[in-house]
Subunit: 108 residues, 2 copies
DNA sequence: TATACATTTCGTAAGTTTACGAACAAATAA
DNA sequence: TTATTTGTTCGTAAACTTACGAAATGTATA
């Protein structure tokens, strides 16, 4: 029973994990559509986005694995929503990151 | 002379571009070190980070291409800094993204 | 001129991502 | 029961990422 120790802090790893989920314009679109609640079902998203259904499922899985969304399966339909808790966490971490000590920044 | 029209807005593409630059813990570390100004030279970063010099150069190039940092080459040394303008742009875009219409969010 | 130093570029290997269509699954309708 | 609808999973190809060491670069110094 060993615990793998990383060379990076938990925060650093979390930030990069969330950033990775945002690192694709299809996924940004998905999150915008969900956040605006103009859509919730896979099919609604599919109608708006220029990718095949199978590709969309892959992107949804990436977002789900990152914790930014959650899905409720009621075959044959699947409804997706933002995961508000992690959404807030990601927001806080990223804002904190961008705020860090940059106020007094001066490159000599 | 043709202009390639994307299926995504400029903002969506910019957000994913910046997010992509943040999507790796080595690069998060680099940005933290630069933002904290504990280091500015490649060599200083190299001493702190668990990757080979050539790998570090690659990561620095990714950050530079994304516009988040800038480098000043004075061989044999190279000094890196945060690009404050784009740092602010990235911050603003991400804050805007995470704030979008999520306040009244309710999944029915 | 030759040597040393700090960093980048090159070559390459292993792994990951993104995309698609085909096949599959699960509930419902005909 | 068979067909239809809605999504997911599988197989696969092309492109991209991350990593390393070796070689190259460009200035300063011996």
């Amino acid at each position: 029973m060993t615990v793998k120790k990383s060379k990076f802090t938990d925060t650093q790893q979390l930030i990069s994990k969330f950033a990775n989920a945002l690192a694709n314009p299809v996924r940004i679109s998905i999150l915008e559509l969900l956040a605006n609640q103009s859509c919730c079902y896979h099919g609604d998203l599919s109608a708006e986005l220029p990718v095949a259904n199978s590709t969309l499922s892959q992107h949804l899985k990436v977002l789900k694995d990152a914790g930014l969304i959650q899905g409720e399966i009621n075959p044959p339909k699947t409804k997706y929503c933002i995961n508000l808790e992690n959404w807030g966490l990601a927001k806080g971490l990223l804002i904190g990151f961008f705020d860090s000590k940059i106020h007094s920044y001066k490159c000599d």
